[in-house]
């Protein structure tokens, strides 16, 4: 199931799950829960998990693989094995601090001078080379990765699939026949559109709240993420290296104000490592 993606299967699953969840949304049919966790995380964390009940975890992973292949079609991997292995070790370590440690967490650095990071369903997470180069400490990078991990934990992209999948995509998926190993254009187009437009602003705020905590659990300075948002605050939206991120996220000032109100001084007594210099880590991995 978690071996290499079979994209035909992905598309069938995506089609079925979209149809299923559409029915759920429109007619309030109670589909049998496919809950894969012994804990009712939905009741703890609000509605996000409940809204995507029609899509189970293997389906979520396959959808994520289709989205990841699309992002890699926009920008390839950075040809630096040290950087790739390092972000995987750090990112997976962070993911182990969460309620979904068993996803196939996979991290990658895109060969892109811009400043951005992306997540897909199922635990596939991307940062750009330009972001990595601008990190002042490992704690900042941990903050960014933890924010993206937050999107995966709360299934923000699946929620967007449910909210925005149009009739043509649903039709395409429903009419699809097996045996086609190509990723359907409609899925690629959906992913392209989703990553151009970005998520709901509230989902971004939620990922900020989670990012701070996951980094803190892991032993990192929890102010790494706010420090990165301060970097964003300084940038002009006209700077091409920042414009896509700034367009797809709430204003950095608002993100900082929200974290400011939550964090206060409650982390002062925690161990808060800034981590090794990233340049040192790149030599280790």
């Amino acid at each position: 199931m978690r071996t290499l993606s079979n994209f035909a299967r992905l598309l069938i699953l995506l089609g079925l799950s979209l149809l299923g969840t559409t029915a759920y949304a429109q007619f309030s049919l109670k589909l049998p829960g496919t809950g894969n966790s012994p804990v009712d995380i939905g009741s703890l964390f609000g509605n996000a998990s409940k809204m995507v009940k029609g899509i189970d975890e293997p389906e979520e992973i396959q959808i994520g693989q289709g989205f990841a292949a699309t992002l890699l079609g926009a920008k390839p991997l950075l040809a630096d094995e040290h950087a790739q292995r390092y972000v995987n070790a750090l990112g997976h370590y962070l993911a182990l601090q969460t309620e979904r440690p068993d996803l196939p967490w996979t991290f990658a650095v895109l060969d892109d001078p811009g400043f951005n990071a992306f997540a897909t369903p199922g635990g596939y997470i991307f940062i750009t080379r330009g972001l990595l180069q601008r990190m002042q400490s490992e704690a900042e990078l941990a903050g960014v990765l933890s924010h993206e991990i937050g999107h995966v934990l709360r299934k923000h992209y699946l929620k967007a699939v449910q909210k925005n999948a149009g009739a043509s995509l649903l039709g395409d998926l429903a009419s699809m026949k097996g045996g086609n190993s190509q990723i359907k254009d409609s899925v690629v187009n959906f992913a392209k559109n989703l990553y151009s437009k970005g998520l709901d602003k509230e989902d971004e705020f939620e990922a900020d709240r989670i990012g701070v905590i996951v980094a803190a659990r892991a032993g990192y300075d929890p102010y790494g993420l706010p420090a990165v948002i301060q970097i964003l605050e300084e940038q002009s939206a006209q700077d091409n290296n920042f414009s896509l991120l700034l367009k797809t996220h709430p204003p950095p000032l608002e993100r900082l104000d929200r974290l400011d109100k939550l964090m206060k001084n409650q982390f002062d007594s925690l161990p808060a490592a800034s981590g090794a210099p990233i340049a040192t880590r790149l030599k280790e991995y």
Partner: protein, 168 residues
Amino acid sequence: MKIPAFVLSALLAANLAYADPAHTIRATDLHAESQSDAATLAFIPENTALDVVQRRGAWSQVKAGAQTGWVRMLDLRFDVKPGSGSSNSGNAAGGLNGLLASGRTANSGTDTTGVRGMTEEDLNKAQANPAEFQKMQSYASDKAVAVAFGKRAQLTQSNVPYFPEPAK
């Protein structure tokens, strides 16, 4: 160990450039050290312009007039940098530009500042790339590597609860 000249110059340039203009969003104390029980050097009113030198955890070291000290980082907001294109902070991570392998798509070696980041157009033109995805999977670390990372980095894990959901 010998530090390549270009890395060194990037580091020096970063240090010189890293005095970012910011302002206080509330009245705050300037402390002698990066902790709240450190001696208070001065009272800084709301909306005071100052320069940020560095950060340490929740604290930013600032130059305020003739004085240098530490204030809570979230009492500050940075001013938007004038101009666009290459930003000063781009080279600040200890010369990472030199240490990362040069981009295979870059036209001009390691010079990245003149090349723009991913845009909507790049996304619009994208075709799925399953081969690249397979390559990505080949770099994934298993749990043992992840656990070993935390041990090697001597990180202390804590059981910190999530923030409560904000009131709607």
